[in-house]
Symmetry: C2
Subunit: 416 residues, 2 copies
């Protein structure tokens, strides 16, 4: 079965909104093993929308629209799609009751429009907003699904109601697993996995991700269990080849993995950040439950604060500068002392765009890990094409997280 | 003139990459006053790509493709578009020289493919990667532009070379200005501006943005100066109506505005964060040059650290709890004392998903601002639909930034 996504909304064509809906739907279809061959965007214009709907219904088995289900005059998706597919819109009573319950006394007349749905459709309830979605089959056996535009409403509706609806039509399922890698680039990994990347089931494909990469292994089989079973040996072989640089299978981020490993080992972490300015703490505390393992963080931009709060010796700063191996070391050791945590991180560097010199260029960052007894310092130097402030900050925080992961796993803390 | 964007890449249809290219191109076209009527995505499939190119050339004046210009066998955009537009591909010497310079001795044979461009085209140099773009007019007077897929290459190429190329064909320009608002929602503002939103030139349109909103005022005129002049009174009227809740015109984020105002007034800021875990520091230090005004930050998750580092009295924590007005106050006052900064922020709350109680629900956050003499505490309570951890953290940090902005401007620090 081939699908097509049609996103509706002038804001998408003005560049005011990024079309994440298509990505979210595409991912779900890919998981279901349904090929998405086209994705299109049209504005809130009935004639162009109708053309696009007719074209989609003529060339694809499944049409999924996103957006344009709301109460205002601009919201024309249901009217246009229903007309093109030869369906009447009727007031759907369960949706109308939900709307009345939601709005109470204050329901404006135009809200009622949201409960007008194609006759005989399957209602897709909106548990996070007001406009319901719907699904139906046309006389020619095409499947039409309409979803609301806001991702916070579309995403749960998709997973709760659309995936089960579509799964009925599928006789194979897809399962994917991701091997996450830090410290080896997409190109290098692709070379190591060249032979695995030639296979068609399971497939193995490398992807770049901000400052890291992952390999997605995907298998198609009759059941999810069977597909998982097919993925397993390939995932293991990839782990074996990439070795210590693999940080997880299916745990999506370094911070999640690190919080998980800190909890497992019962260790506590504290951070002292200069150039990353709180980003490392932010990423750790993005993970729910991190309060159990994250003791404290300091953002010590000013030298005086590094001295006073972390006890970085004045002489160290004077002799080597704030951006130096020695200062990073003293910061990591200082934060362990101040916090009483098991592991301390110190980060100091030049994130740019200003502040670089020939000797200490933008992108030079020292990252230290101390356990109170031993301290390791890694040096990041800019290489390859020029990168921005956000990049340097992100990669430095990632490097720190990877050092914590390696320390907890008993691996070399810094490995080239 | 009507434009159409065609994005090429199977990864877009698998949901592995969000199609930000279309958004970036759409914004630039909107600025130029060129209507974008369609945007489409196709995979790396020559037949479907050719169909899409032919359809675009038949219905639009300008076709802009993104992606598929690289050296591998999957990269078929140039071949397909050139064939559909009736152009030969030839080796373009200046691009070939650039590639040789970039790769040196190690240039693989397939890299040469990137210098194959449609005969007689305008070369769009790639200053941030290897694949050049190109632009040409077909025999039927259609404009074809091909851009590389990576946003870090596409964006500068678009602004450096494509916008000037397209501007030659335009007799009107568009100018937009954004009025940024914190503390009033999209719905409330739309009501206040109802009459202004009816006008067609300039237009005024409200947009939601994570936890805040902005109004975009857009005018079309013969010159940029004229368009700006048309926007000015509308922007002023919007400022007047929304009052203290407007935080900027054209300064895109609260953190940029706050760093700018701190620099202007010569004041220094320090932060003590609990539930936001470094996010506030991260956002402030996202702004280049923030080191001049950001003294230090503490991420004090544990109660012991709040006591020890910030001097929050043990009795305060015991009597009122970590999430309380009193603790927020003591944190803000403590960080001013510790850092010697002019302004201190204390944030404590429950970001969720765990940790909420009936009395102190997820989303309850106290935000305090102290200048050493006076302290103000704002209370955020969850309302409306259920929000996630990221949302509560983001909005709490925004609220803190808005309090700093208000303090520096001599406005009420917390206004309902």
């Amino acid at each position: 079965m081939h699908a097509e996504v049609l996103s509706v909304g002038t804001e998408l064509l003005l560049g005011q909104t990024v079309n994440t809906d298509t990505t979210i739907v595409a991912k779900a279809l890919s998981m279901l093993g349904i090929d998405l061959l086209y994705a299109a965007v049209v504005g809130d214009n009935p004639a162009r929308m109708e053309d696009a709907v007719r074209q989609a219904l003529s060339r694809s088995d499944i049409l999924i629209t996103t957006g344009g289900l709301g109460p205002t005059g601009d919201d024309l998706t249901k009217e246009t799609v229903a007309a093109a597919a030869g369906r009447k819109l009727v007031l759907e009573s369960s949706s109308y009751e939900r709307l009345k319950e939601y709005f109470g006394e204050n329901m404006a007349d135009n809200q009622k429009k949201q409960a007008m749905l194609p006759e005989g459709c399957t209602v897709l309830p909106n548990d996070h907003g007001t406009a319901p979605g719907c699904a139906f089959e046309t006389e020619n056996g095409k499947i039409v699904i309409m979803l609301p535009g806001p991702p916070s409403e579309l995403t749960p509706m998709l997973h709760e109601y659309v995936v089960p609806y579509l799964a009925r039509f599928q006789d194979a399922v897809i399962s994917s697993h991701s091997v996450h890698v830090f410290g080896r680039g997409e190109g290098a990994v692709a070379q190591m996995l060249d032979d695995l990347m030639q296979n068609s089931n399971p497939t193995a494909a490398p992807y770049a991700k901000e400052g890291e990469m992952f390999v997605r292994v995907t298998a198609k089989a009759a059941t999810k269990e069977e597909a998982d079973e097919m993925c397993r040996p390939v995932v293991e072989e990839i782990r074996r080849r990439i070795g210590n640089f693999v940080y997880s299978v299916d745990v999506e981020t370094l911070e999640e993995l690190v919080v998980q490993e800190l909890r497992r080992t019962g260790k506590k972490l504290a951070t002292a950040e200069s150039c990353t300015g709180g980003l490392l703490g932010k990423r750790i505390t993005d993970v729910s439950g991190s309060s159990e393992v994250f003791e404290m963080g300091c953002i010590t931009y000013a030298n005086a604060v590094k001295e006073q709060l972390l006890g970085v010796p004045h002489e160290t700063l004077a002799a080597h500068g704030a951006v130096s191996e020695e200062t990073a070391r003293a910061m990591a050791e200082g934060i362990v002392r101040v916090s009483g945590a098991d592991i301390g991180i110190g980060i100091t560097g030049i994130a740019g765009p200003g502040g670089g010199t020939e000797e200490k260029p933008v992108g030079l960052v020292y990252i230290a890990l101390s356990d109170g007894e031993n301290t390791w310092v890694a040096k990041r130097m800019p290489f390859g094409r020029r990168r921005d402030r956000e990049w340097h900050r992100h990669c430095s925080a990632s490097k720190a997280l990877d050092m914590v992961r390696r320390y907890l796993a008993g691996l070399p803390v810094d490995e080239k």
